[in-house]
Symmetry: C2
Subunit: 335 residues, 2 copies
DNA sequence: TGATTAAATCGAACCGGTTCGATTAAGCTA
DNA sequence: TAGCTTAATCGAACCGGTTCGATTTAATCA
């Protein structure tokens, strides 16, 4: 592999001139530039990214840290980020924390060690220790998905309150009153907001919600399934279930199927966030989806902005909250 | 950030001794070792991976290159690899080529530039140019999923011929004769093998296959959907459809639903490879799945073996082919 | 106890770039 | 043409480790 010294020797200039020619051609004379160009082509020189990173103290890599790369929500965002980064000579390193805070931390530390230019992070923690950790990161960070109070970083996400409210309103309009909700972890902003959206909408409509109709599904498959089961075995069953995310909603659908309840004839179902192949799931679930394309674009641009304008470190963190979209299916019937 | 020189100064030894103590403690005296240990703890020294990689000419990173990280098949394998690598002080850099050969190439080149210790690669190309490129890679490489003739590397995959044969046999046993197949790209080994398994089994059973019943779905959603449509609008429809991968099979299901065909009452459906949430898709598709857990384990161990035994470069490449598993659903009816 | 050998440690070069103050060349003014 | 500015180029230090031959120290043996 040819090094910058080979180029310098062949072009008969100093190493520093070659380096300068590469990073700031305007400051090198035309004829020297030409000599260097030819030398580079002759020896087939390509700068070693590792050496560059070491010398500069910064690489051209962007860390992408989420809890589940398999989730299409994160997948769409990842794709947006990758494309945008590629257009700006950056390279995305994808990592998966499986939702575990300690793993996420190890990953982030590793990425920092790699001197990544910036981080796109879907936070998985919330306690003071975690906040301190994030605050201590000395690179541009754009958080997304979960808004964590106490994190002073740019944030990109959706209006989760509205998401919960929209679906609840829809069910109310269809005549449902006995509406149950399967929620997520109480420390997750998305979970609490979606629930607030539900609760407020119900309250505004003057419909009381039985405590038995609010169950915690932890946003996981097993907990979601159990939560749904608890709802379904009650003598006074709900007529509709709102799944606060895709996982718990589909777990509920599975539970319904196993218990022999038909959807929507017996029980209606609505969910927040899409899944792959939702179009072939019967019934097609009525849902509210986030604009992953737009979210990804904003994350990418904001992060790259922070990276290329390091002086803008003083620029205060900003929240970008997008409006989610209602996508009707046929899983909710009028009663 | 503390450097190795800080440690050396505090422990009152040379930098090289500290380095030696870290890489080969046995060659350093007990008391020096202890001094160094304390100094490391005192200054909170952590070796800079970038500097190490530059000096060693090799990093502790493993490149993972696939066409779609969101695909649960690749996701499962990724997880296996990550866990195994972590246990061996390595770090997996996940990249997504979107199935594009040129993008894959750029990613691989980038990873090589990062001096990755090894590559786990699901090949997306097949022409001579591509073969040369892969052959020229001067790092341990374990290929998986697609077996590409001409690539002289370790390969880990499933018996795709058997996968195709199993489902075909199953449909034949149920009494189907008019069985159609939606295939994948002819340059993909998985596609041709699965088709061969289908064709041979049909031939062995003495059942002729109408050319109209073999359509190319490119393993993509749009092509799969169109292929399915072509099958379904024929006057002489098949009684069963075999989707050679999950994408084309589910596209077919969607087409069937849209045209008002019931599955399995009107048409049976079987597919190769699982998808997320298949358990809530109605009907539950009968399928053959790969043992992703085992595949991932073998890939991980083989790659790490190559990495830690570089002299074993002479060890000839080996193929590991696992037997897929039949998972009955209720998408195939007896006729 | 001096010679021999092995073990422990060190110094310096190196990996391949970047950066910045110093030096030289070129251009302009009086 | 001397004097001054600006542009172009250079040299050396640096980023933070590793490596290996050289040197010092300790252990072994005659």
């Amino acid at each position: 592999m040819a090094t910058i010294r080979d180029v310098a020797k062949l072009a008969d200039v100093s190493v520093s001139t070659v380096s300068l020619a590469l990073s700031n051609p305007a400051r090198v004379s035309q004829k020297t530039l030409e000599k260097i160009r030819q030398a580079i082509a002759a020896v087939g020189f390509v700068a070693d990214p590792l050496a560059q990173s070491l010398a500069r103290g910064r690489s051209r890599m962007i860390g992408f840290v989420v809890g589940n790369v398999g989730n299409p929500f994160f997948g769409d965002i990842r794709r947006e980020l990758e494309n945008y980064a590629l257009d700006h000579q950056h390279f995305v390193v994808v990592t998966d924390s499986s939702g575990k805070t300690d793993r996420e931390r190890a990953l982030v530390e590793h990425l920092i060690g790699l001197k990544t230019a910036g981080l796109a992070l879907a936070p998985s923690g919330y306690d003071q220790d975690y906040l301190d950790f994030i605050a201590g990161l000395n690179v541009p960070v754009v958080c997304f998905d979960q808004k964590v109070v106490g994190i002073e970083r740019d944030f990109v996400g959706s209006d989760n309150y509205l998401a919960g409210a929209m679906l609840t309103e829809h069910l109310l309009q269809l005549g449902h009153r006995r509406i149950a909700v399967i929620t997520g972890p109480s420390h997750m902003h998305t979970a609490t907001e979606r629930y607030r959206g539900f609760a407020d909408t119900m309250a505004n409509a003057g419909v009381e919600v039985s405590p038995n109709f609010v169950v915690d599904g932890q946003f996981t498959r097993t907990a979601g399934y159990e939560a749904a089961m608890r709802l379904l075995i009650q003598p006074e069953r709900p007529t509709a279930i709102l799944g606060a995310n895709n996982t718990v909603a589909l777990s509920a659908l599975q539970a319904m199927q196993e218990l022999g309840f038909r959807c929507p004839e017996d029980i209606s179902l609505a969910m927040i966030d899409n899944v792959q192949w939702s179009s072939v799931i019967t019934p097609r679930i009525t849902m509210v989806v986030q604009d992953t394309h737009a979210l990804g674009g904003i994350i990418a641009r904001r992060l790259m902005h922070r990276i290329t304008n390091p002086q803008g470190a003083v620029e205060p963190p900003q929240d970008f909250v997008l409006t989610p979209k209602f996508v009707p299916g046929n899983s909710c019937r009028r009663i």
